[in-house]
């Protein structure tokens, strides 16, 4: 048995690889899934392909073993082992995998921990810096208190976000605001985090924390960042919310999750639906109507448009003072980023 690295971004290789993977019941070859793949390995015996596996960031993908060579799981272990070693050579030790529910156990046999399970999929992780380490960094509110959570990208933090946090702050003893850690938005993670922190400083019962890799991250919810894939989006959203309910909720004694209504983004709307499906009855979902200004809801998307058109009057209206100061000081640079990266 020989292990070869295969560049699947070459059409000829891609066809051969896809054919093998399809035979092993993986059907999703959407560009959003395939484009991120950095390394693919195949195990070859003569002219036969016996197995394959790929690495994309810190996610292991497209692991397939031909039934003829599976040998009671030995081949599977060899594939996962090789991928872990290869990822380690890239300096990645903390790894995730999405798989079908029936394969979750196979990954658990090789040291993975299951984070969430739904009818359509499972998400698991392995390596140092796992979810227990993440949770250990968050201060825990006393049990018995009314604790609420909000998850936001805040790209950037607007008066609309502030209104949502304020509402939760008023109705609960303690509020966690999780800021998405993934750095693929116009405003960097650090900028978004700082602006949320500054913009909520007046609410004394609010703790602003990072989402880590456990809420709407490239690992748990890639479709959020690749807005083309709605079916995938819903299945990933259900897993993402299940992960929240199973791991974050009990550790921080969260009783409610607050969310703004979503009139624009289909992905976010599908995510909100997933919350209603998964969270109750243990966690209540509280939907707060978006703050309106002159009959129009405030949205971060419009703020980013106003940055490009340098519509300072609009920015003055919808941004809290803290965000306003930052945006005005960096107007030209932010405009340039939007030009380069698109509207994300």
């Amino acid at each position: 048995m020989e292990i070869k690295e295969l560049n699947i971004h070459i059409p000829r290789n891609f066809r051969k690889w896809k054919q093998f993977v399809e035979l092993n019941h993986i059907q999703n070859f959407a560009p959003s899934e395939v484009d991120q793949i950095e390394k693919t390995f195949i195990w070859v015996e003569g002219d036969d392909v016996a197995a394959t596996g790929s690495i994309a960031g810190n996610v292991l993908k497209y692991i397939a073993v031909c039934g003829k060579y599976s040998d009671g799981g030995a081949m599977f272990n060899q594939v996962v082992s090789h991928l872990i070693t290869q990822a380690a050579m890239l300096g990645r030790y903390h790894l995730f995998v999405f798989t079908k529910p029936q394969y979750s156990q196979s990954f658990q046999y090789v040291g993975f921990k299951e984070l969430a399970l739904s009818n359509d999929g499972a998400i698991l992780e392995t390596g140092p810096g796992g979810i227990d380490d993440y949770l250990a960094t968050i201060p825990v509110a006393d049990d018995g208190e009314q604790v609420a959570a909000i998850v936001m990208n805040a790209n950037p933090f607007t008066k609309g976000h502030q209104y949502l946090v304020e509402t939760a702050s008023r109705e609960n003893d303690h509020v966690y605001v999780f800021v998405l850690q993934d750095d693929s938005s116009i405003f960097t993670y650090q900028e978004r985090f700082d602006l949320v922190k500054q913009g909520t400083a007046q609410f004394k019962n609010v703790t602003v924390v990072s989402s880590g890799e456990y809420m709407i991250s490239a690992a748990t919810f890639p479709a959020y960042f690749l807005k083309d894939d709605q079916d995938q989006g819903h299945y990933q959203a259900v897993l993402d919310v299940s992960l929240f309910k199973r791991n974050i909720v009990p550790a921080l004694h969260i009783k409610k999750r607050y969310v703004g209504t979503e009139p624009f983004s289909k992905t976010t709307d599908s995510y909100n639906q997933a919350m209603h499906e998964v969270l109750p009855p243990e966690v209540a979902v509280v939907t707060v109507p978006r703050l309106e200004l002159g009959g129009e809801v405030i949205s971060a998307t419009k703020v980013r448009q106003a940055i490009v058109t340098q519509d300072v009057a609009y920015l003055d209206q919808v941004l809290p003072a803290t965000t306003r100061t930052f945006v005005k000081a960096h107007l030209a640079e932010l405009g340039k980023r939007i030009e380069q990266k698109g509207w994300k």
Binding site: A74, N77, Q78, V80, S81, H82, I84, T85, A88, Y93, Y109, V110, G111, G127, P128, G129
Partner: protein, 96 residues
């Protein structure tokens, strides 16, 4: 002594063991083995003994055991420790 970087050694194939070392306080061992109820304590002893011979006192150890013999566990531990300490080019002869 603490380790300098995360390191990994070994595989998940039958009769082998995969060991991941990462920074931590004190020695924490996370053992995953189908024979943990029979040999868990023995495996942990090999792990702690090997760490002691390198004077490593603060580290998180993740052990995914696939039925490795003690000598294999020791060899994988040594490789992982030397990688974690950045001393792969300077084998510790006294330990060997």
């Amino acid at each position: 002594m603490e380790i300098k970087q995360t390191a990994i050694a070994g595989t998940l194939e039958s009769s082998d063991v995969q060991i991941t070392l990462s920074q931590g306080t004190g020695i924490q061992i996370d053992l995953d083995s189908s024979v943990a109820s029979l040999y868990g304590d023995d495996i942990k002893k090999v792990v702690t003994d090997t760490l002691a011979s390198y004077d490593v006192t603060d580290v998180n150890v993740k052990v995914v055991d696939k039925g490795a013999l003690d000598c294999v566990i020791k060899a994988r531990m040594m490789a992982a420790i030397q990688r974690a300490l950045g001393t792969v080019d300077e084998p510790n002869w006294e330990v060997l």
